[in-house]
């Protein structure tokens, strides 16, 4: 690099630049958090949804699936599964409930988690809630 450009100039760009953009990130994040009520469907964030999120986490569903595009790519997107299954909680519950314990020969299959009826309802409620978050119309179509 050229002689006119000194190390202390480089250092100042580092400290000044990163400080400035860190503050900008904080400001934007603050604004985002403030405007989330418009998109995050919080009016429907019931006790049962909260419980469903715990069921989702305690069984590591994200280890195979994506949720709004984040997670693993081994199994289908679930952010819109409520809609894909015809706006039916019952269909989601039945699917999870009747997974064969020893899998399907030769094919990928979902484990049998032995969830209670209440847990099944909670996780389905959670997936319904997520499907109603306004996320700029992602995914592009119902297949996720």
């Amino acid at each position: 690099m050229s002689q006119g450009f000194t190390k202390s100039m480089a250092r100042n760009i580092f400290y000044g630049g990163s400080m400035f953009f860190f503050l900008l990130l904080l400001v934007l994040t603050f604004d985002t958090v403030k405007s989330l009520p418009k998109t995050d469907n919080r009016e429907n964030l019931t006790e049962q949804v909260v419980k469903g999120k715990h069921v989702w986490e305690n069984n590591n569903c994200i280890g195979c699936h994506t949720l709004m595009g984040e997670g693993a790519y081994f199994a289908p997107e679930l952010g819109n599964v409520y809609k894909r299954m015809g706006n039916s909680k019952e269909a989601i519950i039945a699917f999870i409930k009747f997974r064969p314990k020893n899998g399907i020969p030769g094919r990928r299959s979902m484990p049998q988690f032995n969830l209670t009826d209440d847990e099944l309802d909670a996780v389905a409620e959670f997936l319904k809630y997520v499907s109603e978050i306004n996320n700029q119309n992602w995914p592009p179509n119902i297949q996720g």
Binding site: K7, R11, E57, N60, M68, Q112, F113, P140
Partner: protein, 463 residues
Amino acid sequence: MKYTSQMVAKPYFIAAIALFVGQILFGVIMGMQYVVGDFLFPEIPFNVARMVHTNLLIVWLLFGFMGAAYYMVPDEAETELHSPLLAKVMFWIFLAAGVVTILGYLLVPYATLAEITMNDLLPTMGREFLEQPTIIKIGIVIVALAFLYNISMTILKGRKTVINLVLLIGLVGLAVFFLFAFYNPSNIVLDKLFWWFVVHLWVEGVWELILGSLLAYVLIKTTGVDREVIEKWLYVIIAMALITGLIGTGHHFFWIGTPGYWQWWGSIFSALEPIPFFMMTIFAFNMVNKRRRQHPNKAAVLWALGCSVMAFLGAGVWGFMHTLSFVNYYTHGSQITAAHGHMAFYGAYVMIVLAIISYAMPMLNGRKAANSMKSQVVEMWSFWLMTVSMVFITLFLTAAGILQVYLQRMNGDASLPFMVIQDKIEIFYWMREGAGIIFLIGLIVYVASFFVGRDQPEAEMPK
């Protein structure tokens, strides 16, 4: 090696390599499960293998960073490490925490693990990369604090170099941003928003400082180029990394329920994120071309140069490919993401850790500067085997990803369901698995390089 306390780096490096082997074994298992769906089912479900694969990756890279710091910081500060004993104790605590976590994943159902570790008291589990039980996360914080204390005290009492300072800022940032792992609100949008404060601000933020610092150190040592020049480059690189990478976080806020303005902020700033990686490539090749001396450790120089190229390809080129919001709308959460994740992690962080191990290990084993030529040749073979097979893993996943995106998301009403497409693109998953096995062979060759040519004399300093 000038300071005996640098020796504490050795167990860290050995543990890193051992866990790396574990990571890849589980990678190969998952690659198999992609094509033979019931492989090891229900004993090792895919999600379990994935946790083991990704968590081992993170843990061994952290072992690598810590070992690198324990080796480099005393050397740069020109003083003994503040407390070698603390470093040794923390090594065993960290290793025990890591092994217990992995065994926990493998031996009991995840829900049981959550229950016995009382996840409900402070729920932090069940999120990608942050699957560790809460108590383990607390352990990680304690180890990190003890480590930072040890490193800071050493730097404070010794010579203060830019390389040490940048490393320290990177490591402090690593610890600070990890704290967001403890924030897990019930609101999934908020949860996702701040989850990226760990994941993105690590790999596209503070870890880049660590990467830059270690790269600069290896280059100073192997090329003998003037420190002033190297430090100036280092400052510019890390300045660009943070200036682009901080707001670049926005490329993860397109479709998770956050405001639409992130499509602008995220696309524009993250599109500039390749710049620091490109500068690293120019930097590394420039310094090697301007070298004032020939260093007998050819393998270490190869890793350093390779790292700068592969980091640019994996993070810079493959990152750019899907970072603009109108592209990401279609590619988000597809095999293209996996392709990028693999090459970026390998190129930037795996290779820099292997570069520093390659540079330091001969001295830790009592050599003056380098291993025997025989050992280096084997090591360089492993470099090519692993690097080329990683290029192919990336290419096959990219091909699978392009087809997946096309068939699933761009085909209007004729778009096909996820599982149907997975069957159609199976051939690419088979080829990925083939490349993965070559990667594993390369890794075995790498481990072997530590055992061959030990009785032979050191490689000579070329004239």
